[in-house]
Symmetry: C2
């Protein structure tokens, strides 16, 4: 069983109101030193086989069609563990 992680983040030029709200709130809560927060999604995809090249490519296609919106988001696929 292998686990592949897909990290989905808004493109830098896309406004992220959720992240901005968090960043604005931090000083009021006593947390200084944070200049920005961006919020994205993380998916853990469990495969029934090994995370070989074909499997990772399949996860990439899943990310592209189902997990991310390529118009406003970027994604990164990486193998987490393979045991």
């Amino acid at each position: 069983m292998a686990r592949v992680v897909v990290d989905v983040m808004l493109k830098p030029e896309i406004l992220d109101p959720q992240g901005q709200a968090i960043a604005r709130k931090l000083p009021q809560l006593g947390f200084d030193g944070v200049t920005a927060v961006r919020q994205g999604k993380r998916f853990e995809v469990e495969l029934d086989g090994p995370a070989d090249e074909a499997a990772v490519e399949r996860v990439r296609q899943i990310a592209d069609t189902l997990l991310a919106n390529p118009v406003i988001e970027t994604y990164e696929v990486r193998v987490l563990q393979d045991d």
Copy 2:
């Protein structure tokens, strides 16, 4: 400027309907070999200083109070880059 990532995932024993919906949909879309999907959140926190031990500890406190719900979620803090 340093960037710290906070990954927030539902605890394994907490039901994840969003992830389940994705996993169920995959075979209908022609994607086989995925046994489970879990959906979580990913935060990129930008610091105005270096990601030293004190700064990472501060981000951990932010995660604990604001980014994650420790009752149902676990989180992981890691330094992404420090330049």
